[in-house]
């Protein structure tokens, strides 16, 4: 049901959403959320949002009380990434609001639609350094797509409507609405606007026929073309169009980290991830391509290594992006196309023809076979890569996997072949430790029937593990897979490789017993230290109808390879142990 239809139904039925009814600001807000089809709200109460929480008491919205506002916003973010619908979070003023900051920046970097609602002190106190006052609109100015402070209850419905519109259209992103307490308490007749009109905001862009014509010419002339498919493919729900386009044109697909799942990882045209920890074949493809088609990918420095002039040195670069500011921002493009991936591909598809790529595909296949991702197995020792391979085998690429940040994140990207869109949920742009576990909660609530696995490091998990309480309280059956290497693995790897083995402040051997920690929260805890145990324990965990935390005690000094050191170019790949 569309928002307009919902509004209409509610008006006609005279149910509990009546237009013109006198409501408080808090009630107004919640009615707007219902009209926006919000299902879950993640949040934490406090003085400045008490009116809102009082109204929630009798609302049909489902509220999830996390144990930290950071947990709430990452959960909302996980919900948004898993569904494409905006995540909603509520926090109180001051410290509640500032606890959202990391999550807002995380969503902004990965273009995730969020609507963040914060309370503020009453307007007559604003600017007086009142108790729990923080200038949250000022603080979040550089990390939101837009933000608002509501100064008059009569503006509130329009602002909420605009916030959802801005968060979800064009290049999606987080929008924050700060509501002073006097506005929450004020009363006014409720009217919800039918339409949004924001002058100067142009969210939809469909490329011109001329652009499409040029695009077709470029790919038809190419002998070694490659698609670089980014998070924009997923944001635009363009996975089926991409699949059709790649199959029709026979152009191979490299998925950026954010793009994993946007194209089936087990497809014959799939080349996995490029860049710092990318596959040999993907990096060779970029180095040798005569045409790179960026689709919703921003040529981030984990791919170009910041050496943008030496990136894809023989290629004509075509760049399709919904955000015109991305075109030409990082790399010089031959053909910039402002448009979302879905509508662009829809225009191109009927006109596209097969390219003559047989030789190129054979070359890529040879590279893939000669240099697969690999690691050394050691008898009786549990390798972290092995755990990820096991997750892949047992779920067949169908699970939703969320990750934290570090080595385990890269191993997930390498060894799990994502088949479905929106099935890898990870903080790519900001690289936020503590993200993966709460994000899994949001993803699982969105998809109660699917297997949701949070793969976390022993470091990152300890940043937000208090949200274990949620698993128990709401019976959210997330499987938490801890790759416990007793250290901050990725930092240790850099210290080994670039700081002469001087392991400064990375030892985590004093972590709590994660099994007991889980049990303390009423969650099933398990442990495995050998490959055989790992298989047994994982089988039981998968079959178990409820949340589980598994402490996989893996090899401590394992590195992520291949690796291109920062500042080097893609042809300077270190292949690693074997």
């Amino acid at each position: 049901m569309s928002v307009e239809a919902a509004a209409l139904t509610n008006r006609i039925s005279g149910a509990d959403i009546g237009m013109g009814e006198v409501l408080t600001g808090a009630e107004t807000l919640l009615r707007c959320l219902i009209l926006e089809q919000v299902e879950y709200v993640f949040g934490y109460p406090g003085g400045a949002v008490l009116p809102i929480y009082d109204s929630l008491y009798s609302s049909r919205l489902k509220h999830i009380l996390t144990r930290h506002e950071q947990g709430a916003i990452h959960a909302a973010d996980g919900y948004a990434r898993a569904t494409g619908k905006p995540g909603v979070v509520i926090a109180t003023s001051g410290p509640g609001a500032t606890n959202l900051v990391t999550g807002i920046a995380t969503a902004q970097m990965d273009s995730i639609p969020l609507v963040c609602i914060t309370g503020n002190v009453a307007q007559h106190l604003i600017g007086s350094d009142a108790f729990q006052e923080a200038n949250i609109t000022g603080i979040t100015l550089p990390i939101t797509k837009h933000n608002y402070m509501v100064r008059d209850i009569r503006d509130l419905p329009r602002i909420v409507k605009e916030a959802f519109y801005i968060a979800t259209t064009g290049r999606p992103g987080p929008v924050l609405i700060d509501i002073p307490k006097d506005v929450s308490n004020a009363k006014a007749p409720f009217y919800y606007p039918e339409k949004v009109e924001i002058r100067g905001y142009v969210p939809t862009r469909v490329p011109s026929d001329e652009d499409i014509e040029k695009f077709l010419q470029v790919i038809q002339a190419a002998k070694k073309p490659v698609i670089l498919a980014g998070g924009g493919v997923i944001a635009a729900n363009a996975d089926s169009e991409l699949l059709a386009f790649a199959e029709k044109t026979r152009i191979p697909v490299i998925n950026t980290f954010m793009g994993l799942g946007g194209f089936p990882g087990d497809h014959e045209l799939a080349l996995n991830m490029p860049g710092m920890h990318g596959s040999y074949a993907a990096n060779q493809a970029l180095l040798n391509a005569d045409c790179v088609i960026g689709m919703g990918a921003r040529f981030d420095d984990r791919i170009t290594m910041g050496r943008t002039k030496e990136f894809a040195p023989h290629a004509k670069i075509v760049h399709i992006d919904i955000d015109p500011a991305e075109l030409g921002k990082n790399v010089a493009t031959m053909l910039p196309i402002a448009g979302d991936v879905k509508s662009t591909l829809r225009k191109v598809l009927p006109l596209a023809q097969a390219c003559d790529t047989a030789e190129w595909l054979a070359q890529l296949k040879a590279w893939q076979e000669a240099y697969p991702y690999r690691y050394k197995k050691v008898e009786g020792e549990l390798k972290p890569q092995e755990v990820i391979e096991m997750l892949y085998e047992t779920t067949q690429g169908d699970a939703i996997i969320t990750t934290d940040v570090g080595q385990h994140q890269m191993w997930v990207a390498q060894y799990y072949k994502f088949k479905r869109t929106r099935s890898l949920i990870s903080s790519g742009g900001l690289g936020t430790m503590g993200f993966g576990f709460p994000a899994a909660i949001g993803a699982q609530l969105a998809h109660p029937g699917r297997t949701v696995i949070a793969v976390v490091g022993d470091g990152g998990f300890q940043m937000t593990n208090q949200e274990l309480a949620i698993l128990h309280q709401y019976n959210v059956p997330v499987k938490v897979v801890i790759l416990n290497n007793k250290c901050l693995g990725m930092v240790r790897q850099w210290q080994e490789l670039f700081y002469d083995n001087r392991y400064s402040q990375v030892d985590l051997s004093n972590s709590p017993d994660f099994v007991k920690l889980a049990e303390a929260y009423g969650v099933k805890g398990m442990r495995a230290t050998t490959p055989a145990e790992a298989r047994e324990v994982w089988k039981e965990a998968l079959a178990y109808d409820g949340p589980v935390v598994i402490d996989f005690q893996v090899t401590e000094e394992e590195n992520v390879y291949p690796m291109v050191a920062a500042g080097n170019t893609l042809d300077q790949m270190v292949m690693g142990d074997e």
Partner: protein, 166 residues
């Protein structure tokens, strides 16, 4: 580094100047001057910003400004003929006896002396930046006690010669 003048039409709402200024800081662009005032339409303000950078940087700056929700439009004024003006007040060390001499300097600039004290006087001048700079050079020998300049305001010329219109 090339100098550019751009006009940014924005919603006249609280915090809009902060948003624009913040974008410059965040993206590493430099602001040489910024002036904000009312526009021809109620509810909208116009900012005139002068900045430096090569063509790519300018292109990126304009695109980033366009992303701000409160920005209605961005115009690159200095790519076409434009009229630009700045205002400066210059307090010069001088006694009334030097008035005639100083008048002789400021008059060709169509500047005027707007205040006279026992030891100093104030010159008011409007024009483009170069003109004000030129006058400052001439006034320097007398001793400049205080100087205040507005940023530049600018507008595209009504008639653009065909050759210049790209």
């Amino acid at each position: 580094m090339e100098r550019h003048t751009i006009a940014v039409l924005v919603n006249d709402v609280p915090g809009v100047l902060t948003r624009v200024a913040n974008l410059f800081g965040q993206r590493g662009f430099n602001i040489d001057s910024i002036t904000v005032g009312a526009s021809e339409e109620a509810g909208l303000s116009r900012m005139i910003i002068t900045t430096g950078g090569d063509e790519r940087q300018l292109d990126q700056l304009i695109k980033q400004l366009n992303k701000l929700i409160d920005v209605i439009s961005v115009t690159h004024l200095s790519k076409d003929p434009m009229v630009s003006r700045e205002l400066a007040l210059i307090k010069v060390d001088a006694t009334p006896s030097q008035l005639v001499e100083l008048n002789g300097i400021v008059e060709p600039f169509r500047a005027s002396i707007v205040d006279i004290g026992p030891n100093s006087l104030i010159v008011q001048v409007t024009g483009d930046s170069d003109k004000i700079d030129a006058l400052l050079v001439l006034l320097q020998p007398y001793g400049i006690r205080e100087l205040t300049r507005t940023g530049c305001i600018a507008m595209a010329r009504s008639i653009v010669p065909a050759a210049a219109a790209v």
